[in-house]
């Protein structure tokens, strides 16, 4: 092992008080599990997985809606691979199942691919499922702009995009929880800048912006532990190679031109004000909700899934009575089990 890594681990493991540190990004959850980081750090550090996987937090109703769209004739659904297996209000509803029933559902890697598909299928309506936090919101905005410039009018977006700040605030305002520090997702911060997380300084907690490789996570923990030792509650940046103070202003301007905040339902958590992103009036011709309005079903059955509590870090996946006992990656009940970066799935896969 690299000497510097060893040195950092040693420093981390000198921490003598117990702390709860929450990662809010599923990729961090994965990296921690995959690299066996829990096994190599002091038991004083309790790593909690928070609401970081946009796949996990997408509401049942939204999945049901896109599933039904997929089953319509002459509609092509384009989506990042992550969403394929996410179940809606029951396990038989998912984009994968729709595909199995003959729907035209295509996995894409970039939102621009969806625009290309629209161009090649002028007689079909091509719907792009916009998911994710600040990292993917500009990509959706760029696709809309591209469609506009190229005069493609069979391209529509279903935006279930979410913002990080409101949900972190929701976590912080939950009195049952006791989070001492946040591992901030490095790529969200790349867009928002360190500035985008300075709101945390108004709370009583430590934080560091962290990259995703094993080394980077260790470095982030190292930085946070230093700050804890020093009582330094300023937002740390352990991802300086990419993340700047101001972030990517062009990207933010781009998405603020095309989308705007709205109240949104987080699966398992509930409605959080101004936490979702919708397409602005001006760009509504690209909004699928204009042609197929999304209606929330207030009478929806409440799932036995404890994702909500897992997502805000109140319980660990294993504490859900369904974990591995009815709910597993093959038959996921809750969204946390679906996405490979969902907390439950990550715990299940790497069952450390």
């Amino acid at each position: 092992m690299d000497q510097n890594i060893e040195r950092m681990l040693r420093e981390i493991n000198t921490l003598e008080k117990k702390v709860n540190i929450m990662e809010v990004c599923g990729t961090h959850t994965m990296s921690i599990c995959k690299n066996g980081i829990r096994e190599i750090i002091t038991e004083n550090i309790n790593l909690i997985s928070g609401p970081g996987c946009p796949v996990c937090v997408t509401d049942n109703g939204h999945i049901d809606f896109i599933y039904e769209l997929a089953l319509k004739e002459n509609i092509i659904i384009t989506t990042y691979g992550d969403m394929i297996r996410v179940p809606g209000s029951n396990p038989e509803i998912s984009l994968g199942k729709a595909k199995g029933m003959g729907a035209d559902v295509r996995i894409i890697y970039s939102s621009i691919d969806a625009v290309e598909i629209a161009l090649k299928n002028p007689d079909k309506l091509v719907v792009f499922l916009g998911i994710g936090f600040e990292t993917t919101i500009p990509a959706t905005a760029a696709a809309i702009l591209e469609a506009d410039i190229r005069g493609i009018d069979n391209f529509k977006v279903f935006s279930v995009h979410k913002l990080v700040e409101p949900v972190m605030k929701a976590v912080l305002s939950n009195e049952e929880l006791n989070v001492d520090g946040f591992i901030i997702p490095g790529h969200v911060a790349t867009i928002t800048g360190v500035k985008g997380f300075e709101f945390l300084e108004n709370y009583d907690c430590y934080s560091s912006i962290v990259g995703f490789k094993g080394e980077e996570v260790i470095y982030g923990l190292f930085q946070m532990i230093q700050n804890i030792k020093n009582g330094n509650k300023k937002v740390g940046n352990a991802y300086k190679s990419i993340v700047s103070k101001e972030g990517n202003k062009v990207a933010m301007e781009l998405y603020n031109e095309i989308l705007e905040p709205r109240d949104d339902v987080w699966r398992g958590i509930g409605c959080i004000p101004n936490s979702g992103m919708k397409i602005k009036e001006k760009w509504s011709k690209y909004d699928i909700e204009e042609s197929f309005p999304y209606k929330e079903d207030k009478n929806r059955k409440i799932s036995p899934c404890k994702c909500g509590e897992v997502l805000i870090g109140k319980i660990k996946p294993k504490e859900c009575p369904l974990f591995g006992n009815g709910c597993n990656p093959i038959n996921p009940i809750g969204p946390c089990m679906v996405s490979s970066e969902g907390s439950c799935a990550a715990y299940y896969k790497y069952n450390t």
Binding site: M1, I37, G81, D82, I107, G214, N351
Partner: protein, 331 residues
């Protein structure tokens, strides 16, 4: 609601063994996968194996469905401890398939058979209605001659044995996924290859070899799990020892894939007595086709029935069987 087949029943992982064990084997002979290895020795002299190939695309970097169909069965025979001799070739064609493509595929069967020194001795052709196939599906079954002094089986595995892979991990699965999803414009290449050049070494080290398997669907992780599940031993593999082609590693980073769960079509995993492992691996690496072979781990008793993955930071985690097929993802 009625239980139905899902794609995950075919990925070689957890659900595949479930359907094989609970529906097929339990009915046919009351047993589970244990007794149904990829190549079965009959009359104590011959190995017999079968596989159907439903790959799409039919032509890919590094091979085609014809080559793959021969490799799959040849490799099951070799890994089952047999010298491949005879193949059957059964083709299901979809109405509308181009005959010229069929021709190329059959030529590829021929070439791969020649390389492997096997003969196609029996065959069948069926045609299904348009919309009920995928152009072409191929089944090959194979008969091989059992290699003497070789006694393969999970029961032979002992703590201290070494786990060897004959080359880079995950090339086939990652490259096919990228070709199918039209990613990376064919920069990767399948490892699709017959393992026949291992035969002399298998003969030579016959009494030291405990078990062999070609880690196809489900990848290395799933195969290793099958070696130890429900046993009292475990396998620990080490991140830094895993041979991975750097392009494959790059593709995995881009699309969030894991080579350990990705199929291989020209690799063998060999568990061999630890005392001869380094000698054996040197001989393997001397064969050009297997120059990237490596000892990737060892058998121990750390955790009953588990495969453990030790990261480069020393962290350990359990490496389970494949649950669902990998998809390119962004998060």
């Amino acid at each position: 609601m009625k239980k139905t087949i899902t794609m995950a029943h075919g990925n070689g992982g957890v659900l595949t063994s479930e359907i094989i064990n609970d529906v097929i084997l339990k009915t046919i002979n009351g047993n589970t996968l244990e007794n149904m290895t990829d190549a079965t020795i009959v009359d104590d002299k011959y190995g017999f194996t079968t596989d159907s190939f439903v790959i799409y695309p039919h032509f890919f970097n590094g091979g085609d469905i014809g080559k793959l169909s021969v490799c799959g069965t040849v490799n099951d025979l070799v890994m089952g401890g047999c010298i491949p001799k005879y193949l059957s070739l059964s083709i299901i064609l979809e109405e509308g398939y181009e005959i010229e493509k069929l021709q190329r595929i059959v030529e590829s069967v021929k070439t791969t058979c020649n390389y492997s020194n096997v003969k196609v001795v029996t065959g069948d052709t069926k045609v299904v209605d348009k919309g009920h196939g995928s152009g072409i599906y191929i089944n090959t079954s194979g008969i091989g001659e059992k290699i003497e002094n070789l006694n393969l089986g999970r029961d032979n595995i002992r703590a201290g044995d070494a786990v060897i892979i004959t080359g880079d991990i995950g090339d086939h699965g990652v490259s096919i996924l990228c070709e199918r999803e039209k990613l990376l414009d064919g920069q990767l290449s399948s490892d699709c290859m017959p393992l026949v050049k291992l035969i002399p070494l298998i003969k030579k080290y016959a009494k030291y070899i405990k078990i062999m398997r070609d880690p196809t669907r489900g990848g290395v992780a799933t195969t290793l799990n099958e070696f130890v599940e429900n046993s009292e031993i475990s396998i620990t593999i080490q991140e830094e020892k895993l041979p991975i082609n750097e392009k494959v590693a790059g593709a995995c980073e881009i699309f969030g894939l894991d080579p350990l769960y990705s199929a291989n079509e020209g690799k063998g995993i060999i568990v061999i007595d630890g005392t001869v492992a380094s000698e054996f691996i040197e001989e393997v690496k001397n064969i050009n086709e297997f120059k990237n072979a490596a000892i990737i781990g060892e058998i121990n008793k750390e955790e009953h029935g588990k495969v453990l993955y030790k990261s480069r930071f020393g962290g350990r985690r359990i490496l389970g069987k494949l649950t669902h097929d990998m998809l390119p993802r962004i998060c």
